[in-house]
């Protein structure tokens, strides 16, 4: 069962990754833009069980690590995404105010994006990866948060339906 679901999920993750790299990154969005794959994976994790969320985080993190523009070592995003998706799924399981409420889910996904980016900065500092001046980091963090807040509610119905399609469940959002 899980193999069949993953065989559907993996191409979806890959397509979203390609869209991010070939389309979203073409627009030089102010403040650093947003990460479609990151938002999708977090929404996916909230709606999934902890096992599926962790595997989804692993796939998404690996793709983000393989992105040529990624500056850290391969595995850094993977590690962060596994932990984040597992935690998000743990907090979201059985919590209807989160998984069944678009507004709550939007704020939750946005704050998690911000939290993951901060965690990336901390792990980058530990691994010796250069991340830029303090001012620029603040601008990027602010920009990514604002973009995520704007984009998440727009994409939420699509991502929710993709999740429902993969797991043969009724879309809750």
């Amino acid at each position: 069962m899980i193999t069949r679901q993953l065989s559907i999920a993996i191409p979806i993750f890959i397509i979203i990754f390609v869209v991010q790299e070939a389309v979203i990154d073409q627009f030089r969005l102010a403040g650093g833009g947003f990460s479609l794959l990151l938002i999708f994976t977090l929404i996916w994790a909230v709606l999934s069980s902890q096992e599926i969320a962790a595997i989804g985080g692993f796939i998404a993190g690996l793709l983000m690590d393989l992105s040529p523009s990624s500056s850290g070592p391969i595995g850094q995003w993977t590690l962060l995404m596994i932990a984040a998706c597992y935690a998000v799924s743990y907090l979201g399981s059985g919590n209807e105010s989160l998984s069944g409420n678009p507004l709550g889910l939007t704020f939750f996904a946005t704050s998690t994006v911000l939290f993951i980016e901060i965690a990336y900065l901390v792990t980058s500092a530990l691994l010796g990866v250069q991340t830029g001046s303090f001012g620029q980091i603040l601008i990027t963090l602010f920009g990514i948060s604002i973009w995520s807040l704007v984009v998440t509610p727009i994409l939420l119905p699509l991502f929710s339906r993709l999740h429902a399609f993969t797991f043969n469940t009724r879309s809750a959002i």
Binding site: E21, S70, G75, Q130
Partner: protein, 307 residues
């Protein structure tokens, strides 16, 4: 049953985390397979990026117009009268002209120094989720581009080739926090190291305190062994602020980079450089004020008519 399910999910979490840590360890130890995986990803992505660039160019121009709405209000007012097809035509033409201007300036710069360059179009900007500043260009090793080659914009240094693929290359921009370049100050020949800070201003650390650096001093690339990663004499930026703290071991300064990284459409990769150093020949010429002609009118009073 519930306990068994929780145990299984925790075991899976541990396995995945150990795998991620294993990958980090392998990558930090420089295992070639992982480096190849990233290169393979770019090779697969570059046709998609190329197609995306072609399809999205009109939309990008449209959004660019919206972004600059405040600054180009008069121009927009004038264009409002035009029909949609003319607008599209104009946007495409503007894009082509801008790229042509950039290319002309790059060739002028490279020609003055005698650099052999390969021109390339920017097809993608790297995602800033990792706080890195990169771009992808549409030419690669098939055009003779190799890793650690200097990348020029119309104004000077744009960056350095970070990775090369058959038909594309990843450029680390001069704004990237990991970017470092040896520079010398035009005129005084004082040397130092310039570091990217994530935006158009970079930080300069001079090697010694023998001469004072001044606001307005122009920085040129110092050049590397065999001209890689940097060819000598290329304009980098100019000093905007100097930190002359009494206790500092070496002088430091803030530098404004010449290249406008938000409008990079065309760049040139230096694939060959002359043996001789161009010296200060590429220092940008300061704009000369156009002399205003003075018109002197002599008025001679006509003789008063006498009655």
């Amino acid at each position: 049953m519930r306990k068994g399910s929780e145990g299984r999910s925790r075991l899976l979490l541990i396995i995945l985390i150990v795998t991620a840590l294993f990958l980090i360890t392998l990558d930090l130890r420089g295992v070639g397979i992982l480096e190849g995986a990233r290169q393979g990803t770019q090779t697969i992505l570059s046709p998609f990026q190329r197609a995306g660039n072609v399809v999205l160019t009109p939309f990008k121009n449209f959004f660019s117009d919206i972004t600059h709405l405040g600054r180009t209000r008069n121009q927009i007012e004038k264009l409002r009268a035009d029909n949609n097809s003319l607008k599209t035509q104009l946007a495409n033409r503007k894009n082509a002209d801008a790229q042509l201007d950039q290319l002309k300036s790059i060739l002028d710069l490279a020609g003055t120094a005698g650099f052999k360059v390969v021109n390339a179009r920017v097809i993608s900007q790297g995602s800033s989720q990792s706080f890195a500043q990169t771009i992808t260009i549409d030419t690669g090793s098939n055009a003779g581009i190799k890793k650690n080659m200097t990348v020029l914009s119309e104004f000077g240094i744009a960056g350095v080739v970070k990775d090369v693929y058959p038909n594309s290359a990843l450029i680390s921009l001069a704004t990237d926090p990991s970017f470092r370049i040896g520079i010398r100050i035009a005129g005084s020949q004082q040397i130092g190291i310039l570091s990217g800070r994530g935006n158009r201003s970079a930080s300069l650390q001079l090697i010694d305190n023998l001469t004072d650096v001044k606001v307005g001093d122009i920085l040129l690339s110092r050049g590397s062994v065999a001209n890689r990663p940097f060819v000598p004499g290329v304009p980098v930026g100019y000093v905007t602020a100097v930190d002359n703290s009494a206790g500092a071991i070496a002088q430091s300064a803030v530098v404004h980079l010449y290249t406008n990284f938000s409008t990079l459409g065309v760049v040139a990769v230096v694939v060959g450089a002359p043996v001789s150093n161009p010296g200060d020949a590429l220092v940008p010429v300061k704009p000369q004020p156009t002399p205003v002609p003075t018109i002197t009118i002599y008025v001679t009073p006509s003789p008063v008519p006498t009655n």
